[in-house]
């Protein structure tokens, strides 16, 4: 943010050490020229060449949002870094001991400069407040931006229907329950394309973290808590799931892979798996948003018994208590 200092013209900060016959060069004009040209080039190169490849890609709305936000922040950060580096490089090369004439000891005498200080504070504050507004909009509009929102999400997706999927983490494995398909539990995570999905993340033992990398989803799995994260799938393909909160011995090996498939392929997979696992499902604890690991009563997984495969969006937000 050294551009704040551009308001400070040479010579106004104190008595310059004996300058050449041509007077003091206009330091800030030089620095500003170098800074603006490098920054513009670097930003354009980044935005068009690197930006589209920044992870986590565009597989879901959350991932696309994360990529866009990262790129915006990067485009703001680059000029800041380049500004400080340009200024430092200029200062270190121009005002090094061997090049500064004058008194044997002294440099400039300025102990401060009202304009520079005010401009610096104004510019940094503006940038920071701007970043906050941008970040908040990007958090609220996409319904939590793929992050875990706790049991009572206040920002919900705009789509009419949502596929709920429960992520159950335990040392050291993720399993997934599909409550709207009879509550079967499997270690495969298959998602339909072009669908809004609510991941209900919970844990049976310690804190884990469900990180579906390419989906742009990250939500802590806490024991006895239902942590909800939303996203909408945009592309088919496979993705990685890793545990992202240190959970003990095999934390490093706690990962698996999932797939986004077309809606019809998903329906047929879910129906088939439901039938295949029916005998297992009967022995599972009854479906619930959280589980007490000491409870071992089997009751099947039929929750809610008579809903569509895609539950209404009203199940979330203020309506949550009715479920």
């Amino acid at each position: 943010m050294s551009d704040g200092a551009t308001t400070h013209q040479a010579g106004s900060g104190g008595t310059p050490p004996a300058g050449g016959p041509g007077g003091e060069p206009r330091h800030f004009r030089r620095i500003f020229t170098v800074w603006i040209s490098i920054s513009v080039v670097a930003d354009l190169l980044f935005w068009f060449l690197v930006g589209p490849h920044i992870p986590p890609g565009r597989m879901t709305s959350a991932a696309g949002g994360a990529q866009f936000d990262f790129n915006v922040l990067f485009v703001i950060a680059l000029p800041v870094i380049i500004g400080v580096w340009t200024y430092m490089a200029y200062a270190l090369s121009t005002w090094r001991k061997s090049r500064v004439p004058g008194l044997p000891l002294s440099g400039d005498r300025a102990r401060g400069h009202f304009g520079v200080q005010t401009a610096w504070m104004a510019i940094t504050s503006t940038v920071v407040i701007g970043l906050f507004v941008f970040g908040t909009v990007e958090l609220i509009v996409p319904a939590g931006a793929g992050g875990g929102e706790g049991p009572n999400p206040i920002w919900t997706p705009t789509s009419k229907t949502i596929l709920p999927i429960q992520v159950i983490a335990q040392q050291w494995k993720f399993t997934y329950r599909y409550p709207t398909f009879g509550g079967f539990e499997t270690s495969q995570l298959i998602l339909p394309d072009n669908t809004t999905i609510a991941f209900h993340v919970t844990s049976l033992d310690v804190i884990h973290d469900f990180w579906a990398y390419q989906l742009g989803i990250k939500a802590d799995a806490n024991p006895q808590q239902d942590n909800v994260a939303f996203t909408t799938t945009d592309q088919v393909g496979s993705f990685t799931v890793r545990c992202d909160e240190l959970c003990g011995l095999w934390h490093g090996a706690m990962y698996n892979y999932g797939k986004v498939v077309t809606k019809s392929a998903f329906e047929s997979w879910a129906t088939r798996t439901r039938a295949q696992l029916a005998a297992n499902t009967k022995n599972l604890p009854p479906f619930a948003w959280t589980y007490d690991p000491s409870a071992n009563g089997a009751g099947g997984g039929y929750y809610p018994s008579n809903v569509d495969h895609f539950s209404k969006v009203e199940t979330y937000g203020a309506q949550r208590a009715k479920v």
């Binding site: 200092a5 900060g13 050490p17 330091h27 920044i54 992870p55 936000d69 870094i81 400080v84 200024y87 430092m88 200062a91 005002w95 090094r96 001991k97 500064v100 004058g102 008194l103 000891l105 002294s106 440099g107 400039d108 005498r109 300025a110 102990r111 401060g112 400069h113 520079v116 200080q117 504070m121 970043l131 908040t136 958090l139 931006a145 992050g147 929102e149 706790g150 049991p151 999400p153 993340v201 310690v206 804190i207 990180w211 990398y213 742009g216 990250k218 939500a219 802590d220 024991p223 808590q225 545990c243 992202d244 909160e245 240190l246 959970c247 003990g248 011995l249 934390h251 490093g252 090996a253």
Partner: protein, 660 residues
Amino acid sequence: MATDSELIPPIGATPPPPGPPPRGPAWLHQNIFTAAIGAVAGYAFGHWVGNMIASGYPNINGASGQNDIAICLGLGIGVFGWLLGAGALNYPLAKIVGREPAPEAPESNWTRYLRFSTDHKVVGIQYFFAVFVFLFTAGLLAMAIRTELLSPTTHIFGPGTYIEIVGEHGTMMMMMASSLVVGPLGNFLVPLMIGSRRTAFPRIEASSFWLFSGGYLVIVTALPLGGFPTGWTGYAPLQTQAAGGMDSYLVGFAVIGTGMVLAGFNLIATIIHYRAPGLSWSRLPVFVWSILATSALLTLATPTLICAGLFGILDRTAQTAFYVTERGGSSFLWENLFWFFGHPEVYIMALPGFGIVSEILPVFTRRPLFAYRVAAAGMFGVALLSFFVWQHHLFQSGINPDMRPLFMLTTELISIPTGFIYLVTLGTLYKAKIHFDVPMLFALGMLFNFLIGGVTGVFLSDVPVDVTVHGSFFVMAHFHYTIMGGLVFAFFAAIYYWMPKLTGRTLDMRLGRIHFWCMFVFFNMTFFPLFIVGILGMPRRVFEYAHNLQGLNDFSSISAYLLGASFLIFVANFIWTIIIEPRRAAANPWNSLGLEWQTPTPVPYYNFERIPVILSDPYHYSEPEALPVADLAPRPSAGAATVGVGRGSADETDPRPPMA
């Protein structure tokens, strides 16, 4: 009564000769070896008591089969034995039994560094060696981490050993870094910079060091006790199910934390009450401002950690349920308590770096510090805001979702006062006369690294971006850039700068330059690739990772070995030029105006023959008409010769005319 005036002789008196050697057999002289005996005996006793308490209650033994009561009592009483053996408790114990404690006589022998000493300069040097023991132990563990990560699938350590190493590395580095500057340099330099003969509470200052070193021993015991699987963050309920090493973590942080509170408390009192006459707040060296802000954080944030650790110990021993969800506790409680300490802790590790760099830059640019008041305001702004940002560690944890914009705002706001430091330092470079000496190189290196660390911090504060980078190697690289790239670089700047004052000897500057360039280049080569590794999806603290990340990880690992080797250049330099073949340093080799450089070297036991009268701030380079920084031999007014130190003398030697 051994009052202050008896401990510290009156102004102008010649210091007493070194006291007679203690009587009795040598093994009775209290020093680090008797402290070690006390620690071992204390551990054995505590362990025995713990076993007695728990006998007949098999369910006390946790999942690990170890008796946590015995371990905790052993460690706690072991630390007590360490303090007792070192002689840290002689004074209060003598008072309790109604005897007069013997006053401490100044010692000139080098063995004073192995004893309990209330001389702030001795304590500073003791801290100096202790932080290096910490740094090198934890640095070796870092080498082990990078070795394991050479290959994504071939393992050198088992997964259990690996997370043990990761946790031990992180915890030791955090413990070390929180005292890295405040311990050695805060204790040694602050009294010299403010014109005081001592710190406010010398016995507290000495005890903080012995607690710090005792904490090192406690955290090292985690290794034989099976380590702890939680990393330095110690998240419950994993904490509750962990093996006996977890007790070392909890007790260790309590011990270190107590030392941190005491050290901070002492320095706050010293800076507020022991400034020499004329040292107004607007003349206070900016390094002292940074120590004051850091001490405030140490004193206010650390008790939270100590209490949180106590809850954890109770969960593991007395079967309470603070953090056990299914018994009515909450795993969020630890997360919040820990980070309520943990984020101020981050600034405990950043502010002294700001202070060092701002203090050093004017010397090597030969011009006044630019915007002095902004520097002080920035440090206190950071310190204040640091208490309001902790939940940014918990953005995805399932906290109340509408808290997240608030914590995003506070976190981003903190970059404004942090930016002040850049305004100050960059402004100081403007039209300067820059001398590229080794301390200046390290200070500039700190500015370079901390910029990257700070800017990536803004990425982490943005909730949508944090969804991807949270808990990944991106975070890891970020905080290594701020702590190692920031604080450790600043610390080395301080070492090269103040070594002539600390020891009267100087380091070899050619080796110093080699050290700087190796450390700077290899530091960036080690940690910059890890930002990319993090964005590409590698979580922290894993021993297996995706095959496509092996190239970057190997590059980082090999750079890390070279980075580790660059520290050996410093060690060789230190051993050769300070210990084996001492090079006498000039009294003020940098032509600094700082008050600490105006005292003789080595600094006499009482620092100042007379309490100096401060005439100006220490930054008036290029102002030939300015007054010298202090009058070191103020004309004693009537009666001043019998007045003690500190405030009492302020009125007597005040140069201002008496009020009408």
